[in-house]
Amino acid sequence: MSANVGVATMEPVREAVRTITYREAVREALREAMLRDERVFLMGEDVGRYGGCFAVSMGLLEEFGVERIRDTPLSESGFTGAGVGAALAGMRPIVEVMTCNFSLLAADQIINNAATILHMSGGLFNVPMVIRMATGGGKQLAAQHSNSWEGIYAHIPGLKVLSIATVEDARGMLWPALEDPNPVVIFENPLLYTKKAQLPVKPAPVDITKAKVLRAGDDISIITHGMGVWKALDAAKILAEAGIEAEVVDLRVLRPLDDETYINSIVKTHRALVVDEGWRSVSIASEISARIMEQAFYELDQPVQRLCTAEVPLPYAKHMEDHAIPQVEDIVAAVKKMVSGG
């Protein structure tokens, strides 16, 4: 307590807060962007009249009209490429690809055009656009609707890639992504749309260049992103009861990676477990693991471990799908095994 307690005029004004969901946070961010910059518009399948496949853009059509909340036909390459063209011509499009599974149909536009034009033109033309897509499994949607394609886009020079785990980032990442003069791919996980958090009514901007330690701990660093963050935090609670303090690092930015934050964590904990819902081979988990080896090898008490999705097209049956994807208990078991020196 400071000496100023009781002096009303010196008391800091308490910031107004409210509880909102991840879904509402994304919607607010979209709305804010539309209000702040008339060059911004949203386009994608069912974003307007339907209200968004996941109800994220519900109500925005009524407020902003059909030009700026633009329903598209089922033409992923067509409308994503139209976003590239609109960006080249000075607009700030937000292209929503319903799920990352369908983004493969737009891969030519994202990879061959959006990511290359600045370089191919010797710096003459940049592509300031945001491409949002839903990612991840766990909904019994079988092999064609359950992929985590973060690793594909994080592989591509010229793209920036963000993975949103928290409500705060759901609210805060869109605007700086739109201010970025490069194409930014944002992954949202539909299983997180109902997550709630208290946020200021007028939230501060977030940094889209750094990873973030969401839980401090001394015994092990769990490095993850997206859905994995919540599973790691749940696992950390269970581990704490067993006397193990896990540090949870949310990568947030998958390209370019912020090495400093997770390496610093490892310097403190000397152990690293990477949790990623992509497949293990040639993945984000492989990349993080390699960088730890390159940059912090002598800090490690034991080899880096990875928990990733089993290398199968994801099955429909719930028991099989749950088994394929890293779960809280898998993280708990992996950490216990590592910390106990197993």
Partner: protein, 336 residues
């Protein structure tokens, strides 16, 4: 929606001055590319080099009706469009040399000519991949209320791509100001039109499939192309949405620098060469008494000097330092 057939009823008043301009533009493309072959053979240019020779009337005819604020997208066979648009021959040649004085600093080469001044948004080397971008550029113009046209060149090969169909549908659905110019040279690399398309009337597919006004144009006749483009651009600027021109043309050379041309007969090539767009136009000018003694020689002389100057510029160019390799992957500051 019917397919319109090109005719000369609208007429382009051909003055001597304009005729000489058209001729000079086509001759420049021809001689520039012949020089490209020469320097390619001397290994000054490497990579792919796709020549436009035979198709000059299309780019030159179309460019006559576009304004500086209009945007242009083209394919990997785009030297002709770039020159006709006014991208300097020197910056194109230097680009092919891989020199940093090139229009894209040597990062793009022959297939990726870019130029900001003339709003030339590139040669794109994924067939059909630039079509959605054209729709988006036109959408941006429409949303801002700018009365600009986005003109996109592509070949008959692109018509088989899904992006072609997605883009025509979007352009018509959104009624955006795009001029689609299909350069139908009858071959997608080495596979003839009839082996690629169940329906080979491309203009008809644009009009019947997507409700876009479409014309088939003699792409070897620069005046016919200009006339059709005039009609098209007038309609687009009047807010009538996209317009489609299928220009029937022919590439006289191999697909890229070398191919055995096993897929077409020498007779066929010879027949098309009888319809050389430059020769046809010279004959027309002579028939109209617009070409005077010495005009052609004067044009050839000027063009030869410009082409040689482009080579000199490229030769004198410098190599970008290796330390710069990672530049232009990300733009770190907003250019607006």
């Amino acid at each position: 929606m019917v397919t319109l057939t090109a005719n000369a009823t609208t007429g382009v008043e051909l003055t001597r001055e304009h005729g000489l301009h058209l001729l000079r533009e086509m001759v420049l493309i021809r001689r520039f590319e012949e020089k490209c072959v020469e320097v390619y053979s001397a290994t000054k240019i490497r990579g792919f080099l796709h020549l436009y020779i035979g198709e000059e009337a299309v780019a030159v005819g179309i460019m006559q009706v576009l304004r500086p604020e209009d945007g242009i997208l083209a394919t990997y066979r785009e030297h002709g469009q770039a020159l006709a648009r006014g991208v300097s021959a020197g910056s194109i040649m230097a680009e092919m040399y891989g020199k940093q004085e090139g229009c894209a600093r040597g990062r793009g080469g022959s297939m990726h000519i870019f130029d900001k001044e003339t709003r030339f948004f590139g040669g794109n080397a994924i067939v059909g991949g630039h079509l959605p971008m054209a729709v988006g550029m036109a959408l941006a113009d429409k949303m801002r209320g700018d009365n600009h046209v986005t003109c996109i060149f592509f070949g008959d090969g692109a018509v088989a791509e899904g992006e072609f169909h997605e883009s025509l549908n979007l352009a018509a659905l959104w009624n955006v100001p795009v001029l689609f110019v299909c350069e139908n040279n009858r071959y997608g690399m080495g596979t003839a039109l009839e082996y690629s398309h169940a329906v080979t009337d491309i203009a008809m597919r644009a009009s019947c499939g997507y409700g876009i006004p479409a014309e088939t144009v003699d792409g070897m006749d620069v005046l016919a192309v200009q006339e059709a483009a005039t009609r098209a651009v007038e309609a687009i600027r009047a807010g009538e949405g996209p317009y489609f021109l299928e220009c029937l043309t022919y590439r006289f050379r191999a697909h890229s620098m070398f191919d055995a041309e096993l897929y077409r007969k020498k007779d066929e090539v010879q027949q098309w060469r009888q319809r050389d767009p430059i020769e046809i136009f010279i004959d027309k000018m002579k028939a109209l008494d617009l070409l005077r003694e010495g005009d052609l020689e004067e044009i050839e002389k000027e063009v030869a000097a410009e082409v040689q100057a482009s080579v000199d510029f490229a030769e004198a160019g410098t190599w970008e330092p290796l330390e710069d390799l990672a530049r232009f992957v990300y733009l770190e500051e907003e250019t607006a």
